[in-house]
Amino acid sequence: MVSDSTRLSNLLPLAFALLFAPLLLGLINRTKAVFGGRCGPPILQTYYDLRKLLGKGAVYSRTTSWVFRAGPIVTLAATLAAALVVPFGPCDAALHFVGDLVLFAYLLGLARFFTVAAALDTGSPFEGMGASREVFFSALAEPALLLGLVAVAKAAVGRSGWFDLTGMHQHLNGALWLDAGLVLLFVGVALFFVLLAECSRIPVDDPNTHLELTMIHEVMVLDHSGPDFAYILYGAALKLWLLSTLVVSVVVPRVSPVWLDMLISLAGVFALAVGVGVIESSMARLRLVRVPQLLVGAAVLAVLALVLESQI
């Protein structure tokens, strides 16, 4: 039986995710502003946006049905549920069990399914276009995500424990880095590519483009407004946070004092957001036909990691 204090600390990853997720978007935008020589919006801008959107009314298209209205709700609910199984720093996840990494991937799939269905419900050609690209790219990103996680889990706990995100996370210490550093490096890169694709960042998708034709994620949610759009924005931020913590947990080894571990993990996630901003400032979006190559590359890296792991 775990003590109450342990249980309480298990809720910390969830609390961090809920609190800090919108901050990442602000950090990325601020980084891009600095690179562009602008002041840029405040770092807390996403929080202001969320409050503003929650306070507004809504406009619905006459074409849409209940599927459109269910879209943002199910998307956010599934992303929130996914946050339950992701550990952070020295803390275990709120829930952990064997195979929760599969559940994590499929919960993101549930969120995507309803976002896409809602986009198709508007009957808009633009949103159809975004939906079409989204399902294609994510179908290629999914094997990379799962294979990468399995490779790490196998390296971390395959010899001593079970396959769950928390168990894997707690075994990713410096000793493992000396042992299987290359595996972790490969998976880290693969997961970072997945993050860029899933969270619709450059070089896969440009969240700030002015042209609907070139968007993926943003164009799917064109017709949502008010609280619905707040749900979507928050869900997207949450997804960015969750995938970032996964990348950081793979790349940054656990260290011994609890407070230092926590500090390093937080710094790692924020540094990752700054890194995403740097990438967005320094390169252009890939042509859409190039994106599959990036994602297949990520999957191949994950496969390589898995093969390397079984050789060690």
Partner: protein, 642 residues
């Protein structure tokens, strides 16, 4: 009732036998947990399909006789049940053939259309090629066991009368024969032709349960063949991966809703085969936990697929009948005309994409878990299995999401693309009630997972030939994960309700307006500007063009004032056009060489018969003895020399 009883208690009913005057045959039937596991979905879905069919066929009542379809429907159900309870090879084959013929007559229900007749012909040929393999399978069985009773077949294996070569030949024959029915790639070619041609309640029955009799046959055959060597398992895993990935790719490329669903059945049979393959690997490597998880995942997927694929075909039938066509590009916006049918279709689409909290996720989760077992990963090929299972399941999941958001989005959502779709009539209560029952089943089957696993343990015990207690012990770790999955699934549902309530409250006193869809300032959006079933998957089909081979017929606009322009895309099944059509052309060429034997002159035909008879007589009376004499003489000479 007895079926449920066997599943709950885990004990087999004793075989009952009646006299049956057929060589090698005896009318022996029995019900063990394996039979019961397959009989339960057959009977359950048959009841629902009958209710649905009563509503569905009533539209044909004024211009077609409804007697034959109901006769063959009942025959089909009876034959399927007989297939799973038969305990004698001859009886099994008769039931198997009855199943094929009854479903053939159901497939050709609308035989005034040449497309349907063609589909029926392909189906008839394919299923008889499969049956031919099974005939050979049972003939070989009878030759070593001396009887076709399943009990003596299993007994002969125990007595060690089965050589390894013979077992391998038998395995390959079973794979071909049962694989044709189950729809393993590349033997699946009849499936996308026959399932869309049949009336929708029959399609549901065929896709939901009839192709599973192929899986049942595989499992039953394995109980005769002893411990499987590892390469059998590898073969099945390879088939599973191929069928799964290619099946869903072909499904995504289809433009006809029922064809899409038929290809998706190929995909799901692939997932089942993957599970069973991992299970067999576990048996041959003697790792019971891997075997238990693999078989459990595969068998659970048999049940789950029956539920959601039945529902999907019911939904497709509602769309087909309401709007008069199954071509997705002529549909759209049906959610407004038939909200309940659209809602159930949404549930089934999420379930077939293996999304939590619906039932499809749990069976795929078990297959994932089977690949995660540490003893398996410790073996040399273990990482390869993990790679195959996890990589392909993830890819299948992603592609299935593309495929079924397309089915849902193009058919039920958006604006109607034609007048017929805009005026579609909703399904009646007779059709709706079975759909609602199955939609509830998608959720309940995932909630009922602990009793289902308990029911599976005796089934697995029979397949793995191990005591129930061992199996239950192997599956015990799963209960922890599954309760975790169910908890999270429950949390998703609760959060959905809470978030909906929050939005409701936020918007209560605010301005909520209805408007047009945002069209980027363009003043005259038209229905035809919507994404179509082809354009939606175009990035995907282009990427996999090596497999999908899109044929594009494009007439580009020319000149300053272009008047005519069109673009049409269709995808051919490379196995049908490439593999089978070519080999059949070869066959018919070779057979045409023998045309000179057949000239239609009756007197010469009589001569053939007479010559054959004379030849046989000569063999019987003279030549046979002559050979014996020669042999004796040779032997005598040899003894003389030495």
């Amino acid at each position: 009732m007895p079926v449920v009883g066997v599943l709950v208690s885990g004990k087999s009913l004793p075989d009952s036998s009646w006299a049956w005057n057929v060589p090698f045959g005896s009318f022996t039937v029995g019900l063990d947990p394996l039979s019961a596991w397959f009989a339960a979905p057959i009977l359950g879905l048959a009841i629902l399909a009958a209710v649905y069919g009563a509503g569905y066929l009533s539209h044909y009542a004024d211009h077609k006789s409804l007697g034959p379809p109901w006769l063959f429907f009942n025959l089909l159900v009876a034959a399927m049940v007989l297939v799973v309870v038969a305990r004698n090879g001859m009886l099994f084959l008769v039931a198997w053939e009855g199943m094929a013929l009854a479903s053939y007559f159901l497939v050709t229900f609308e035989d005034e259309q040449s497309r349907v007749r063609e589909a029926g012909r392909i189906y008839l040929i394919a299923s008889h090629l499969g049956t031919a393999c099974l005939l050979l399978f049972f003939a070989l069985c009878a030759s070593y066991a001396g009887s076709l009773d399943f009990a003596s077949l299993a007994g002969a294996k125990m007595a060690g009368q089965l050589s390894r070569t013979l077992a391998a030949v038998l395995f390959l024959l079973a794979l071909l024969g049962f694989g044709t029915k189950a729809g393993f790639m590349p033997l699946h070619v009849w499936l996308p032709e026959a399932h869309p041609a049949a009336p929708s309640h029959v399609s549901a029955l065929m896709s939901g349960v009839m192709i599973k009799t192929g899986i049942y046959g595989m499992l039953r055959a394995l109980t005769f063949l002893g411990t499987p060597p590892a390469w059998w398992a590898w073969t099945l895993i390879a088939i599973g991966v191929t069928s799964g990935i290619l099946g869903v790719l072909f499904a995504a490329a289809q433009q006809d809703l029922k064809r899409l669903l038929a290809y998706s059945s190929v995909e799901n049979v692939g997932v089942i085969a993957l599970g069973l393959g991992i299970g067999m690997l576990g048996v041959s490597l003697e790792i019971p936990s891997v075997a238990a998880f693999g078989f459990a995942g595969g068998l659970l997927h048999v049940l789950n697929h029956a539920i959601f694929k039945g529902l999907l075909f019911f939904g497709a039938g509602a769309a087909l009948q309401g709007a008069g066509t199954g071509r997705m590009d002529l549909l759209g916006g049906l959610v407004k005309r038939m909200p309940a049918a659209a809602a159930t279709f949404t549930v089934a689409a999420a379930a077939v994409c293996a999304l939590p909290p619906f039932n499809g996720f749990l069976s795929e989760f078990l297959i994932f878990s089977s690949a995660f077992q540490r003893p398996l990963l410790a073996t040399s090929g273990g990482s390869l299995v993990a790679l195959a299972a996890i990589g392909s399941l993830a890819l299948i999941g992603g592609l299935a999401a593309a495929c079924f958001t397309k089915a849902l989005g193009i058919v039920f959502l958006g604006e109607p693309r034609t007048k017929e779709a805009a005026a579609a009539h909703p399904p009646g209560w007779l059709m709706l009630i079975p759909m609602l029952v199955l939609a509830a089943g998608c959720l309940l089957a995932s909630l009922a997972i602990p009793p289902l696993l308990a029911g599976l343990a005796p089934v697995l015990a029979g397949v793995q030939r191990q005591p129930v207690a061992v199996i239950a012990e192997c599956l015990a770790p799963a209960s922890d994960s599954l309760s975790g999955v169910l908890t999270v699934g429950g949390i998703v549902i609760v959060l959905t309700i809470v978030l909906a309530a929050v939005r409701q409250r936020l918007l209560r006193s605010r301005d909520v307006r209805m408007s047009v869809t945002w069209d980027c300032g363009y003043a005259a959006p038209a229905v035809r500007m919507q994404y179509t079933s082809t354009s939606y998957v175009q990035p995907l089909t282009d990427f996999f063009s090596l497999i999908l081979r899109a044929r594009k017929h494009i007439r580009e606009p020319r000149g300053l004032f272009p008047t005519v322009a069109s673009a049409r895309t269709h995808h051919q099944d490379m196995f049908l056009t490439g593999l089978f059509s070519r080999s059949y052309r070869g066959f018919s060429w070779a057979l045409a060489r023998l045309h000179w034997l057949q000239h239609g002159r009756l007197n010469l035909y009589v001569l053939y018969i007479a010559l054959t008879l004379v030849g046989l007589l000569a063999w019987e009376f003279g030549l046979g003895e002559l050979f014996d004499d020669c042999a004796a003489w040779l032997a005598a000479r040899q003894t003389m020399f030495f």
